[in-house]
């Protein structure tokens, strides 16, 4: 590390517990000890506020022990205004912060003074940042710093990743070379499937059947982390765990929807060693050194081998102890998936989707932030941003379109000549037309877009804050409904000033809370392993019930093959069913369902609905599918994307995200939102208006690009169809097949929309009017 302290960029890859963060700081400490100077020397960026604060405590001690006169401070959204002001006036030697706080610092006119002496930037958990737009924003910010300080050196710290060279290119100022240092990965983790007395159910994700075994495992270890894939599942599992926890073992819950105060309490109890287990979600994937965790239980299939490896790394946080993990499949399919995942971990075969080019909505925000600090020259900023790894391939035309968008709105109808946001001054530099805009732009900095959520509080004056639920969930509640939050059953009382008021409830059967937890899709590499496992015939290690299931599928139908698509047709309850095994991940299988039912509508097959999992899509219809080939017609699919798919709610959500990040609209700030009608109208209206009158607008192409990769995952569908063109295996089965059976139990059935919805509305409206005794007088 020290030998390379002058290189423009270095990437250090080491497993958790390897002391890599200290290694990242060592050159700074040595330089500061040898050449004491005032002002900011090193900037440390981490994805978590808590991590920055934690790091300050960890650094303080060695610095004091060595008797060094080095000031270390952290800065985040939680830092007080007074502290923040003082930090700008007199920056510490080492500042620990987050990408958003750095972007905010760069938006101030005095940024060049704040960073005047900066020599090094250390980016922690780079692998996590690089997976989201937060990383793209950070890399753009680094180009600004680099312009102020040409000799700046960058150090990236990362957990094990599938493609270190790609991450190195991401970090380095383009086209500089970035060295990659890889530490010894440590001993192979001890990872096993959890064995249970009861067989897992056919579908669902709760894994409630294994509560007794999980409790036993918790008792047998010092501290256990129990990871779930969604917040709702974590809540239910936690609730059930406590019902069975007759020994009153101290077990807590931690996820992103819980009130911050409660989360901090859990973290503190954990550090102090007061807890035996924490039921958690991705909110504990990163960071804080828990020390004594000696077991990780992953509930549900991990969906992605890389994340599994990182989660396993949370246990045995000492360099030479192997991490210990148990994988608990939640249903039959997941047994096979978990099995494949364990094979992949042992083979060190990590997965990862290659990243596309840097998203342009983030660039739009960057241009606004840059203008807040000072008037800028477009040529110079273009040269700067193309030095950021993710934007190295950005064309000048793309850049100019973004600049036009932030300056004028970028509309075909040039309506805003008088009210441009940015305008060119006589020197040709771009500046804010109205300097007061800066405040609005600063408030909107960041790339994390939360779904609209409402705070949940206990009823009464000063009632305790419990956490948040999605607005749509809150809207569906009526008085007396019960749901789980923070492991507690609460009763919905009322919605007051955008706060969900609840009271305690003694019931045992809550209604499920729908949290905004991320829904992961199984990675393609893992899907491929599953297909190969099925074909290999190596089923001895599968539990007997699962082995029988696979053998039966082979007898009744056939097993899906890599590089081909299996299609099954059968009748159930006189209704035609078609099952498409694409193994493309849930989002993509859902899109396939939309596209295929659309095609079936055209073929007059009368599709009624469908349901999708990571592996397959099950469609039911009035007429049977006799020839599946047209359902997979690629040309037809493209037409679909351009027309009716654009009306999909998922596209509208993508639009909202892009519009918020790019600065077309302002995000809802909690507490500032009014219930007033004039202030807010749905972004869906903006989306529809643009589609009608300005279909070539920048934001629409950003939305399409995003949806192709994310929610709609069209890219995977396209890849699947190209790969398997003409390679369909169509089986007409006599009845429901073993592999399709779990799909009948799956929740999230999608009815085919259209006239159906209007009929539903008319019927329900009539029923309500009749019930209320209100005769129609028309």
């Amino acid at each position: 590390m020290l030998e390379r302290s002058a290189a423009p960029a270095t990437l250090l890859i080491a497993p958790t517990g390897g002391g890599k963060t200290l290694a990242g700081f060592l050159p700074s400490l040595i330089d500061l000890a040898q050449n004491p100077s005032a002002g900011l020397h090193t900037l440390y960026i981490s994805p978590l506020k808590a991590l920055a604060a934690d790091m300050r405590r960890n650094l303080q001690r060695p610095v004091e022990d060595m008797g060094l006169n080095i000031r270390i401070e952290d800065r985040s959204g939680d830092t007080t205004q007074t502290r923040k002001k003082a930090q700008r006036a007199d920056p510490p030697h080492i500042l620990l912060t987050t990408p958003e706080s750095l972007a905010l610092l760069l938006s101030y006119p005095d940024a060049p003074r704040i960073f005047a002496g900066l020599k090094r930037v250390v980016v922690d958990e780079l692998h996590a940042l690089a997976e989201s737009k937060r990383g793209d924003q950070l890399l753009l910010c680094l180009t600004r710093l680099q312009a102020m300080r040409p000799n700046l050196t960058r150090v990236g710290l990362s957990a094990t990743v599938d493609d270190p060279d790609a991450l190195a290119r991401y970090l380095a100022p383009h086209p500089a070379i970035c060295d990659v240092l890889t530490a010894d990965p440590g001993p192979t983790p001890d990872i096993q499937m959890m064995t249970t007395n009861t067989a897992p159910p056919w579908s669902g994700g709760g894994a409630r059947y294994a509560i007794p075994e999980v409790l036993e495992a918790v008792k047998a270890h010092k501290t256990t982390l129990i990871f779930h894939n969604t917040r709702a599942q974590a809540e239910i599992f936690f609730h059930d765990l406590w019902l069975a926890n007759t020994d009153n073992l101290p077990i807590a819950i931690h996820h992103g929807s819980l009130d911050r105060g409660q989360r901090t309490k859990v973290e503190a109890a954990m550090v102090a060693g007061h807890l035996r287990a924490v039921v958690c979600t991705g909110s504990l994937d990163l960071g804080l050194d828990w020390g004594d965790v000696d077991l990780v239980i992953q509930v549900g299939a991990p969906k992605n081998v890389k994340r599994l490896v990182q989660r396993i790394g949370r246990s045995g946080h000492h360099y030479n102890t192997p991490s210990k993990a148990l994988i608990l499949p939640a249903n039959r399919w997941e047994i096979i998936e978990c099995h494949a995942a364990i094979e992949a971990v042992i083979a060190h075969d990590l997965d990862g989707d290659p990243r596309g080019p840097g998203p342009r909505d983030v660039l739009c925000q960057h241009l606004l932030i840059t203008a807040c600090a000072a008037p800028f020259d477009a040529d110079r900023i273009f040269a700067e941003v193309t030095q950021a790894g993710p934007y190295a391939a950005l064309t000048r035309a793309e850049f100019d379109a973004c600049l036009d968008f932030v300056a004028t709105g970028g509309y075909a109808l040039r309506a805003y000549d008088r009210w441009q946001r940015l305008m060119q001054n006589p020197q040709g530099l771009w500046q804010l037309r109205d300097p007061r805009q800066a405040a609005l732009i600063r408030m909107n900095i960041g790339t994390i877009i939360d779904t609209d959520t409402l705070t949940v509080r206990m009823r009464g004056r000063g009632g305790k804050a419990l956490g948040e639920v999605e607005e749509s969930f809150a809207a569906s509640l009526t008085q007396g409904d019960t749901f789980l939050i923070g492991g507690k059953i609460v009763r919905f009382e009322s919605l007051r000033e955008m706060v969900v008021q609840v009271s305690s409830d003694r019931g045992r059967r809550p209604r499920l809370a729908v949290f905004s937890g991320t829904k992961f899709s199984t990675s393609l590499q893992l899907s491929d392993r599953i297909l190969h496992l099925l074909q290999s015939g190596r089923w001895d290690s599968l539990p007997p019930h699962t082995r029988d299931w696979v053998i039966q599928q082979k007898t009744v139908s056939q097993l899906p093959k890599p590089g081909r698509v299996l299609v099954e047709s059968f009748l159930r309850d006189d209704r035609a069913h078609t099952c498409l095994y694409g193994f493309a991940g849930k989002n993509a299988q859902q899109t396939l369902g939309l596209l295929a039912t659309r095609k079936m509508e055209q073929l007059s097959l009368g599709p009624l609905g469908f349901v999708a999992t990571d592996y397959a899509t099950l469609i039911w219809s009035i007429q049977p599918v006799t020839d599946p080939t047209p359902l997979f017609d690629l040309t037809g699919l493209h037409e679909g994307l351009e027309t009716w798919l654009s009306e999909n709610a998922l596209m509208k959500r993508s639009f909202k995200n892009a519009a918020t990040i790019a600065g077309l609209i302002t995000r809802n700030h909690p507490g500032q939102r009014t219930t007033g009608r004039q202030a807010t109208f749905s972004t869906d209206i903006l989306y529809d208006t643009l589609r009608k009158y300005d279909p070539d607008h920048l934001l629409l192409s950003l939305t399409r690009e995003e949806a192709m990769r994310g929610l709609i995952d069209f890219g995977r569908i396209e890849a699947l169809l190209t790969r398997t063109k003409g390679k369909l295996d169509h089986v007409c089965a006599p009845h429901v097949t073993p592999f399709s059976a779990p799909l009948f139990l799956e929740i999230g059935r999608v009815p085919v929309e259209g006239t159906g919805q209007d009929m539903l509305l008319a019927t329900e409206a009539q029923r309500l009017m009749a019930e209320a005794g209100l005769a129609q007088n028309g």
Binding site: Y411, Y416, R421, I665, Q678, D694, H697
Partner: protein
């Protein structure tokens, strides 16, 4: 006028129709009433240093208004206030949109009722009034407590209905024996939920909400009990 695909109802002894667009049609009087057009909203937001929203909402609102006028062959048009997002927005209307509006007004009786956003005369022709009494109905922007036979706007009411597997939220008309409150007609308008205290206090317990759609659907007005 069965081809209007609207919702027909009796109010204060008069036969009225709520059109799928949110306009109110009084066939016997050849009168079409629309509320809260908010023309020029995007311009006003930009002028005040806010965001640069797609500048197409005035055009979209006028297209829909023109369609309703053509379908009904209305002779009297009553704009129930907040027709412009503010008085400057009326002045700053793009030239083609101003001409378009003038063309729509030609040969018809056109009444601009004042709203809180546009509390004064605008340079377009027509009649400017604080309220209009067209017996037996009183047209005003904001509902008055204690009034009867009243048609008003202002609140942009919307209603939510839970269906089996989805929840629909749509602009709606509210109605009881004393008053009718129209949904906002303008393209860039949000809504106030009917269970908001302001609306729950204003409307009688037996009020109904007619959710926009083709055709519109009446339901008991959802309220916060």
């Amino acid at each position: 006028m069965s081809d209007l695909n609207g919702y027909n109802f009796l109010f204060a002894g008069t036969a009225l129709t709520l059109l799928p667009s949110g306009a109110l049609w009084w066939g016997q009087e050849n009168l079409l009433c629309v509320s809260d057009l908010h023309l020029g909203k995007a311009e006003r937001i930009a002028r005040r240093g806010g965001h640069l929203l797609p500048p197409y909402e005035t055009k979209d609102t006028l297209i829909r208004l023109e369609r309703d006028i053509e379908r009904t062959s209305a002779r009297i048009i009553v704009c129930l206030g907040d027709s412009f997002d503010d008085l400057t927005a009326a002045e700053n209307l793009a030239q083609d949109e101003a001409i378009w509006l003038t063309r729509l007004m030609a040969g018809r009786r056109w009444v601009w009722i004042e709203g809180n956003h546009d509390p004064g005369p605008v340079e377009f022709g027509g009649t400017h009034m604080a309220e209009l009494f067209h017996p037996p109905l009183h047209f005003r922007h904001i509902a008055k407590t204690g009034a009867a036979c009243e048609v008003s706007g202002h609140y942009h009411p919307k209603a939510r209905l839970n269906l089996r597997d989805r929840s629909l939220s749509r602009p709606c008309l509210l109605m009881d024996s004393d008053r009718v409150i129209l949904p906002a007609y303008g393209t860039y308008t949000g809504g106030l939920r009917s269970d908001d205290a302001a609306l729950s206090q204003l409307m009688r317990p037996e009020a109904i909400a007619v959710m926009l759609g083709s055709p519109p659907h009446p339901i008991p007005m959802p309220r916060n009990s």
